[in-house]
Amino acid sequence: MAAGRVLDHPLLGPLPDVPAVTFRFNGQPVQAREGETIAAALWAAGIKTFRYTGPGKEPRGVYCGIGHCYDCRVTVDGVPDVRSCLEPVRADIQVQGAWERQGPSADKVNGG
């Protein structure tokens, strides 16, 4: 649970004790701190790629971090397109991130 977290901030002080919360990401259990966002919990668990996009299957996770870009979107308990950088964790939620789009590559503009 400590990986990637700031445990003692020079100005904000030590991280307070809060209850642990467990949820699932793509079926895997993830430990989180009560009150933090899904994105923060995933980062702390070492998960930076939340989904894939586009013909090149590029990884996507947090980008703007402020609910603006929708790169970090996940499905939470069946509700699609939730911004994980804003959504607080709750116990036992099922979070789904990655899906791989099949089909032909999307042509952009070409000379035709």
């Binding site: 996009t53 069946g78 699609p80 789009r101 099949q102 089909g103 999307a106 042509d107 000379g111 035709g112």
Partner: protein, 384 residues
Amino acid sequence: MSSVRNHDVVVIGGGIMGCSAAYFLARDGLDVALVERAVQVGTEASGRNAGGIRQNARHPAEVPLAMASVKWWEFFRDELRGAFHYEQHGNLSLACTEEEVRGLQQTAVRLRSIGLDVRHVQGADLKELCPNLSEMVLAANYCPTDGQSNPILATRFIARCARDLGATIYLDTPVVGLAMHGGQVTAVETAHGVIGTDAVVNTAGPWANEIAVMIGSRLPILARPTQVAVTLPMPPVLRQFISGNTVYIRPTRTGNLLVGGGGPWDVLGFTRENTYSSIRRFAARGMQILPALSGTSMLRAWAGILAVSPDRVTIVDRMPGVENMVVATGCSGHGFCLGPGAGQTLAEMVQGRAPSTDIEGLRLSRFPPGLDINAVYKTEPEPM
């Protein structure tokens, strides 16, 4: 343009009909001018529709034109190598009640008699074709050669082909008047100058009546807005363009789904605004036939303006009251596919040749004289 130019033919309106007409006229060696008032071609209905290229689910009078058009669409894609995302994965027209099933069966028989490859499917056959339809869908008419494209790129591509063949395209150029002499149009007056001409093609969509009025004539069309919405990308759940339960849904190559139709149908006029009632209705009616839509969100909606005719069937004909003007309008929300076929027909009529496609059911003479289209739509707010 300089203040006076001359072209053999002037095409008014740069939608899919106008760009196609310009293409076929240029291909026949005429010096054609396409006059478009917006900043680019295809900015109105031709660039706002869902891109369906279908022969299915049409009034039989339109089917010959649709079939001819599909051959041209294939030509533009395959011979001229147009990259406008034209794919032919099929079209399914759905029945959700027993009455609709009977209607589809009759329609399939009728369309097959005209030569269209359309099949009535139910049960396991339908499930295999389209596995994610809900139980509400009882049957479908399936046309395998139907498909979809990106209408913005398609319209621009055809315009460019016309230009490559010598057509002149005047953008930002509204038509303000038509000069007549001896029963013929002799010039098109635009905001930037006058074009002397021998013939005019009126493909101004819902504005085609404004053009008709300039020569003291009238066209029985009304402007009606229609709305479309798109979802965020999702895993593939649909392969064909489907319509039923008052909505249509089609997949895109980027994984987004387009949803449209559904009303409100009592709104008329030149408006391109979206309404909450429509976007709610797309979601509700769409999910009733394709429950997998619950896995995604609506991303954006937009609207376009249709030209509706009294019987919601396209009009292709010579303009009454003048010798040298032809018109295509009134497509009532299903005109995009018909563009190339109509363009070819318009070019033929301009040159005094009999149309090679059967358009007899599309002529203006089918309407009783003195028909008041405003009365038609006051009494019939049906879904399209």
